[in-house]
């Protein structure tokens, strides 16, 4: 069992991007403001002209929780798992799991990098793993 995103017209480019293993965020053509989740216009200058820019996929854990208690059958066999808010180096923040890491080893500010998980033929979820540099720092 899986829970998958149901894209809207607004978010479709984001999910098209992840399918191609690109992590995209919106960037205002006029003033350069960047944001996620998607919005129809720039929250700073109200321009409707924006582009979808690729992130380098590197960032830091802003906050996180270790989920120990099941809320849905799709996640019953994944416990415990980490849900985090990752701040990309470009600025926008993304909700994702932290994978390939002991759940209680996740720390605030921990450097992470994106891992694209092809969960079905048509859907890819961006996930995050500790970046090799951070692992080296111990």
């Amino acid at each position: 069992m899986k829970i998958l995103p149901a894209p809207t017209a607004l978010s479709q480019p984001y999910w098209d991007g992840t399918h191609e293993h690109k992590l995209l965020f919106q960037q205002c053509v006029r003033c350069g403001t960047r944001w996620h989740p998607p919005m129809p216009l720039c929250p700073n200058c109200h321009s409707g002209e924006y582009t979808w820019e690729p992130s380098a996929g590197v960032g830091a854990v802003y906050t996180w929780t270790v989920v120990e208690h099941p809320t849905h059958p799709a996640f019953a066999d994944k416990l415990p798992y980490v849900v985090a808010v990752v701040e990309l180096d470009e600025g926008p923040r993304i909700v994702a799991n932290i994978r390939q890491c002991e759940p209680y080893a996740v720390k605030g500010g921990m450097r992470v990098q994106v891992l694209f998980d092809d969960v079905t033929e048509s859907v890819t979820l961006p996930q995050f793993v500790p970046s090799p540099a951070a692992a080296g720092e111990g």
């Binding site: 069992m1 899986k2 829970i3 998958l4 995103p5 149901a6 894209p7 809207t8 978010s11 996620h36 989740p37 998607p38 929250p43 802003y62 906050t63 996180w64 929780t65 270790v66 989920v67 120990e68 208690h69 809320t71 849905h72 059958p73 799709a74 996640f75 994944k78 798992y81 849900v83 985090a84 808010v85 923040r93 993304i94 909700v95 994702a96 799991n97 209680y104 720390k107 605030g108 500010g109 969960v119 079905t120 979820l125």
Partner: protein, 392 residues
């Protein structure tokens, strides 16, 4: 708005985990009790304000016809779940001050045993092998549900986690601070005949040994899910004085929102500042008091962390200091600021903040189960920007 409107009636239904009554019946129990307490006729009600929230099944029309209200001339909904706590009073007092209504009924009714729990999402997206989540809300939207971010408690845990990290609170101090709230509230509940947890002990051992639900929140840091309803009747100050000797005045009420602060906030840039400080300052200025004048605070606590953070948000302690305040002073009857004297959502019942308002009124009338001596000013507050200051 200062002292323009007053609460003259409060009412509540039975609180329980699985009651026979429907949300409609529970709402009627609470509303009729408030109407009787106010000493008014139901036909006088010309305004109704309700929570616009998940699991709210009782819309205004059901009450207008079942209470036989001839004409409702002002009705509104306050959005975002518990963030309606102060907002419903703000809407009601504003309507009265603007002479859009003269007698306003405000209520919240939940029947989670029939309409669904917030802590579970089992059937939210159907039963199929592949289920789909839409919209950008958190928890449960397209950018969060695929990652298992499905319950409010999980987002609240991320708020708590950031706070703990940013303030370098050790695991031991964290447990002591959060446990102080949870255990004190249980002790308050022991004296409260209406509390669901009245007869359930909670020792430090039980608190500390309980399982983690979403780290850093343990089992007893999360509220009850239940059935129940509360209601109040609000009228203009002059009418209030004619109705009873002890009307409880609305000194100020507030609603506040800033970018990405909409509940349940996940993307807000600073997740340890829930509300712009101006909102709290404005509220106390409007109420013509300082936060230090408040005698008792009923702080929305879907998790104990919300009450902890509200001590900072609503000006009772400095930012980043609430965990220390809790460890050093607690929230008991003799502490500098008693908190959640009914037991709160953790131990009385989860009525989305309406029981914080009814408890505030009881404290100011001098009729509370855990009466704070000479309580003159009370604050009932939700964490993300909605609060009310009440006074005798």
């Amino acid at each position: 708005m200062y002292r323009a409107a007053a609460i003259v009636g409060i009412g509540q239904s039975q609180f329980g985990r699985k009651l026979i009554k429907t949300a409609w019946e529970l709402a009627l129990d609470a509303c009729l009790a408030a109407i009787v307490d106010a000493g008014i006729d139901a036909k006088e009600i010309d305004g109704i304000i309700r929570y616009d929230a998940p699991n709210e099944l009782v819309q205004q029309g059901l009450l207008v016809r079942s209470l036989g209200i001839p004409e409702l001339r002002w009705f509104s909904n306050a959005p975002y779940g518990g963030e309606a706590t102060g907002a419903v009073v703000s809407h009601g007092a504003a309507a009265i001050a603007a002479r859009q209504a003269s007698c306003v009924l405000i209520y919240r009714s939940l029947s989670q045993s029939t309409s669904g729990r917030m802590g579970r999402a089992d059937d939210r997206y159907g039963q199929a092998e592949e289920q789909y989540a839409s919209g950008d809300r958190t928890p449960g939207g397209e950018f969060s549900a695929p990652y298992g971010l499905l319950s409010p408690g999980q987002v609240f845990a991320m708020w708590a986690s950031r706070y703990k990290y940013e303030n370098s609170v050790s695991d031991d101090d964290w447990a002591r601070a959060m446990g102080t709230l949870a255990i004190q509230q249980r002790q308050y509940a022991h004296n409260n005949p209406a509390a669901i947890m009245k007869d359930r002990s909670l020792t430090w051992d039980e608190y500390l040994q309980a399982r983690v639900i979403n780290w850093p929140l343990r089992l007893f840091d999360l509220c009850i899910e239940n059935d129940g309803a509360c209601a109040i009747v609000l009228v203009a100050a002059e009418r209030a004085r004619a109705l009873r000797e002890d009307p409880i005045y609305v000194l100020a009420a507030t609603q506040s929102m800033s970018p990405l602060s909409e509940p349940i906030a996940t993307y807000k840039r600073d997740l340890t500042e829930f509300v712009v400080p101006e909102a709290s300052q404005r509220m106390y200025r409007d109420a013509q008091i300082a936060a230090s004048d408040v005698d008792v605070a009923e702080l929305y606590d879907a998790t104990s962390f919300m009450a902890l953070k509200s001590l900072e948000t609503w000006g009772f302690v400095k930012r980043g200091q609430a965990w220390k305040h809790l460890i050093e002073h607690g929230t008991g009857p003799d502490s500098p600021l008693p908190v959640n004297t009914h037991g709160g959502h953790l131990s009385e019942a989860y009525i989305h903040g309406m029981n914080a308002i009814t408890e505030s009124v009881k404290q100011l009338r001098g009729t509370a189960a855990n009466q704070v001596k000479n309580a003159e000013i009370a604050v009932a507050a939700a964490p993300f920007g909605s609060a009310v200051v009440l006074g005798r």
